[in-house]
Subunit: 345 residues, 2 copies
């Protein structure tokens, strides 16, 4: 049993409906298109004239997050952002989210307030409305389910199935940092568990840890694509790791691919940290995951458009399916790219 | 540790993506409007010309269901149906669902196949498409998150906030049976736990148990409303129990209500069983919940329309907020209706 802290409000003191009201009182509807907010049987959204794009995720404490190093506020922020990232990966615009949580009585109302502060910050930063959800209890731990709803236009949506041989394989931003951020936090957790009085100094690694704890979705990239009149042939976000994610594109498009080692974007700090952890930097970049960058393919005729755009890297090429999915190393070798995404089972 | 049964396939043997493919292989897209099925970052839905209606629920083993008496197939069916019920309660038509599950390794692939058989049956019966979801592991038990997406028309959607004093309060079907179905199953569970060799005989109570284990949503009622050109002023589905649900309508509409005891529809079998359990039948009907009937209000000028429709009961009237929410008993007394919906905290 947990001690009753001063300043701790038991969830039971509010009840289910009271809790929903309490947690969502600061969420004002931003979009005119969100007709109906929280508190009816269903949310009502005006997507007339647009296609509706829907993505959903289920996050389970102990499987997808560890509250020992993941502050509840960051968790709320990340839970929303990773779903928005899926909508952007369709070349669509997220407009609404629903958030459902199940919590054990280990959590106080103040703890859930932190979680919802993060959810609120994400909604605000990305201009989306919280329009519904469910709040209930769990026997153990925290469970978060987020559904993101967006708008897309016919002919502009990017599926995983649209890559064709000869297309260029591109990625935004830099890779591998989120995975190394997790490694730092895991190491600090072990140190803390063995010597609770040592205070970790994580200042230096703020970028890398931030990439894991508080990722951002590539909203501006979708806006840049639109201005440049660029529609990728296929796109997805980097969640399980490039190797695993690229495998999905290749499978669904019926194509192969080749990645150039020299084309894989990594920050120097990430590379150095990988070596410090005795990890292969390239493996971190290709298999780490949780970068929430955009992995996409373009028709070669769009190359000039992409060359002018910031923060996009051409990493390889789409090939015939018979050629498989290969990595071309800087030493000139070609070998099979192995998908080792995060497996939850 | 669970014994390895013959015919038991470990989830780990398929992996996450293999499991999704396996579980969803029989789900064919039924609607032309579901552009993109399972297997991309997000589902794409053509709701152009309509408002999009979204509802979501999170179900946790040990809190919302007990697998000792709830077969996985029924659970899958019910998990979908209760969400569709929320869409119908908006006077809208569900078109798609997303289903996310988190499972511990206690479950086999065969067990999840059962669950998805039920999900499939519900999708087929109600003509909705499974268009996405997430499949992951939990540390303990089964967690199911369902999001239902539907279409509605401006001017025809029914919110909880539209009831006005003088409106008639109506309900479909009959009440209280689901709650008594649960009581039977709980009793049988206790009997089984104390004497595992006694086989329960539940034949006689099939209707009542079915109301709890395999509820149906009132799809046909929405169609009947449309044919009759009837748009309720407010509507919601009966999930927590009439008392609690009516409280929501009254609060959001800024009105009061009076229920006539004589107008509360119950089947005789339900009443008899309540008495057998030494429960007050009216309390079961008003506070039991999980009936998934429709509770709605109509403008009195629509009375003639409703009189001609099947399976609708006029249960009371909407009053001024100052009059509160009252029950008028058959003995002529008026007292406050107490909301005692199912509280998960």
């Amino acid at each position: 049993m947990e001690k009753q802290d001063l300043g701790r409000t038991e969830i039971a003191s509010l009840g289910e409906f009271g809790l929903i009201e309490h947690l969502t009182k600061n969420f004002e509807i931003q979009k005119e298109k969100s007709h109906n907010g929280i508190g009816d049987d269903a949310a009502v959204i005006d997507n007339t004239g647009f296609l509706t794009v829907v993505s959903t995720d289920l996050l389970v404490e102990g499987v997808h997050f560890d509250l020992m190093y993941c502050p509840l506020k960051h968790l709320g922020y990340k839970a929303v952002v990773v779903n928005l990232s899926d909508i952007y990966a369709m070349n669509a615009r997220p407009k609404q989210v629903t958030v459902s949580i199940a919590v054990s009585n280990r959590f106080s109302v103040e703890g859930l307030d932190e979680l919802y502060d993060g959810i609120h910050a994400a909604c605000k930063n990305y201009g989306v409305d919280l329009v519904g959800g469910d709040t209930t209890s769990s026997q153990k731990g925290l469970i978060i389910s987020v559904t993101a709803i967006g708008q897309g236009e016919q002919g502009k949506l990017t599926y995983r199935s649209g890559a064709r041989p000869g297309d260029l394989l591109c990625v935004t931003g830099d890779l591998g940092a989120a995975y190394l951020g997790l490694q730092i936090l895991e190491r600090e957790k072990q140190l803390y568990l063995s010597s609770p009085d040592i205070q970790p100094d994580l200042e230096e690694q703020q970028y890398i840890i931030g990439r894991f704890l508080k990722p951002e979705a590539r909203k501006e990239m979708i806006e840049i694509f639109e201005k440049a009149k660029l529609v990728p042939t296929a796109m997805m976000d980097v969640s399980d790791g490039i190797s695993s994610d690229l495998m999905h594109i290749c499978k669904q498009s019926g194509v192969g691919a080749i990645i150039e080692e020299s084309g894989v974007p990594m920050q120097n700090d990430t590379k150095l940290l990988a070596l410090k952890f005795k990890l292969d930097p390239l493996t971190c970049a290709l298999n780490g995951g949780e970068d929430y960058e955009l992995l996409f393919t373009i028709d070669p005729k769009d190359l000039e458009k992409v060359r002018l755009l910031p923060d996009i890297y051409i990493m390889g090429e789409i090939t015939e399916a018979s050629e498989g999915i290969k990595l071309h190393t800087e030493s000139g070798k070609r070998h099979d790219l192995l998908a080792q995404g995060w497996r939850h089972f």
